[in-house]
């Protein structure tokens, strides 16, 4: 469900804007995924921390 939601978000900017504005409910994804999605979107760019190396893997 998260996968489909993100694909729709990147294809339809209006859909993404409505989620960011809280106009659409994030049904079908877990509370933790909702929190993560909202946090990442508030950054408005790919998570920079993703680019850092984690050396224990």
């Amino acid at each position: 469900m998260l996968k489909e939601m993100i694909r729709k978000m990147v294809m339809e900017p209006d859909f993404m804007a409505r989620i960011q504005n809280g106009q659409l409910q994030l049904a079908g994804i877990s509370a933790l995924e909702q929190r993560a999605l909202m946090d990442v979107m508030q950054d408005r760019k790919p998570d920079e921390s993703l680019r850092k190396t984690v050396y224990w893997c």
Binding site: K3, I6, R35, A36, M41, R51, W56
Partner: protein, 306 residues
């Protein structure tokens, strides 16, 4: 925790000098330990942190932390030999047969050091059992990774739990067992989440970096690549699926690195990977924040996991 690095390095160097008798092995072992120190000895730190978190006060825990670091180092070397990765590391300066002996030496030395810890024997026994079982889990996970037969996210997560998270769980649980004589499933659960989040982060880095080890060019199936394959459906992006399926050769896609980054952004691969990584991190936070532990140790664990 402040003198942690000095204390654990002292243990590591002492054991390496005592057991690696052949000069070429001893020199490579000491150089390898210096690499570990430069990476902050995170696994050993987690062992000490969890020992303190669960009420342990003995300085003998530094020896157990050294055992954990030796185990990780041995497995790191094997992993690099298999992946032909991190070519600047000291073990790559050796021939492969000698490097393999170095790795086996570190793994065996980790057991020696663990068994020599001056903790109650039942705790050492329980810890050694846990140690070995987690290593075996990691070896199974590493084999799944080498087979590169991942078809979906469930398979990927199963592999990551075994290959990466099991070792992080082991580092934390060694401290818990030495402090209490028991395992704590909550620690296993949150350490696993940290391990998964870290692996997703590394896999995203290895997808984008075409200058070094690159998972796309090696056709390595990871969570970001699986998403990208499912999302890159436009005709203009079909070369991505064609390359992974073997219908295009390496030299045909090498000139397209700039284009690749744009596809990753446009398809939401960065967004999806970021959300998945953060979800696992938040699951870790949710578990550790529900535990009745000294906030000092909890906050140190949260800092270590960032």
């Amino acid at each position: 925790m402040k003198d942690f690095e000095v204390r654990i390095m002292s243990e590591l160097v002492e054991y390496a000098e005592a057991f690696f008798k052949v000069e070429v092995l001893r020199e490579a072992a000491l150089a390898s330990l210096q690499v570990k120190q430069s990476e902050s000895l995170l696994f050993g730190k987690l062992t000490v942190l969890h020992y303190r978190m669960f009420g342990g006060e003995d300085s003998e825990i530094y020896r157990a932390a050294a055992a954990v670091e030796l185990m990780i180092l041995g497995l790191d070397i094997i992993d690099d030999l298999q992946d032909e990765d991190h070519n600047d590391m000291p073990w790559h300066m050796l021939s492969k047969d000698i490097a393999l002996n170095l790795a086996i030496g570190f793994l065996t030395l980790s057991q020696e050091v663990l068994l020599e810890c001056a903790f109650p024997l039942d705790r050492i026994h329980k810890s050694a059992l846990y140690f070995n079982r987690q290593i075996l889990v990691a070896i199974n996970g590493q084999t799944l990774d080498l087979l590169n037969a991942i078809e979906d996210e469930a398979y990927y997560l199963d592999m990551v739990k075994q290959k990466s998270a099991a070792l992080l769980v082991c580092a934390c649980m060694t401290g818990v067992i030495m402090a209490t004589g028991q395992m704590d499933e909550r620690v296993a659960d949150y350490a696993q989440e940290v391990g998964i989040a870290a692996q997703i982060k590394n896999d995203y880095r290895d997808l984008l970096d075409w200058g070094n080890k690159n998972d796309f060019l090696r056709r390595k199936r990871t969570l970001p690549l699986l998403y990208l394959l499912s999302a890159a459906e436009d005709q203009a992006d079909s070369w991505i699926g064609d390359y992974i399926a073997g219908r295009l050769e390496l030299e045909e896609v090498l000139p397209r690195s700039g284009e690749f980054g744009a596809v990753v952004e446009r398809t939401g691969t960065a967004l999806y990977t970021s959300v998945r990584m953060r979800s696992h991190y938040y699951r870790f936070l949710s578990i550790i924040e529900s535990m009745e532990i000294d906030p000092k140790w909890r906050d140190l664990m949260i800092e270590a996991a960032r």
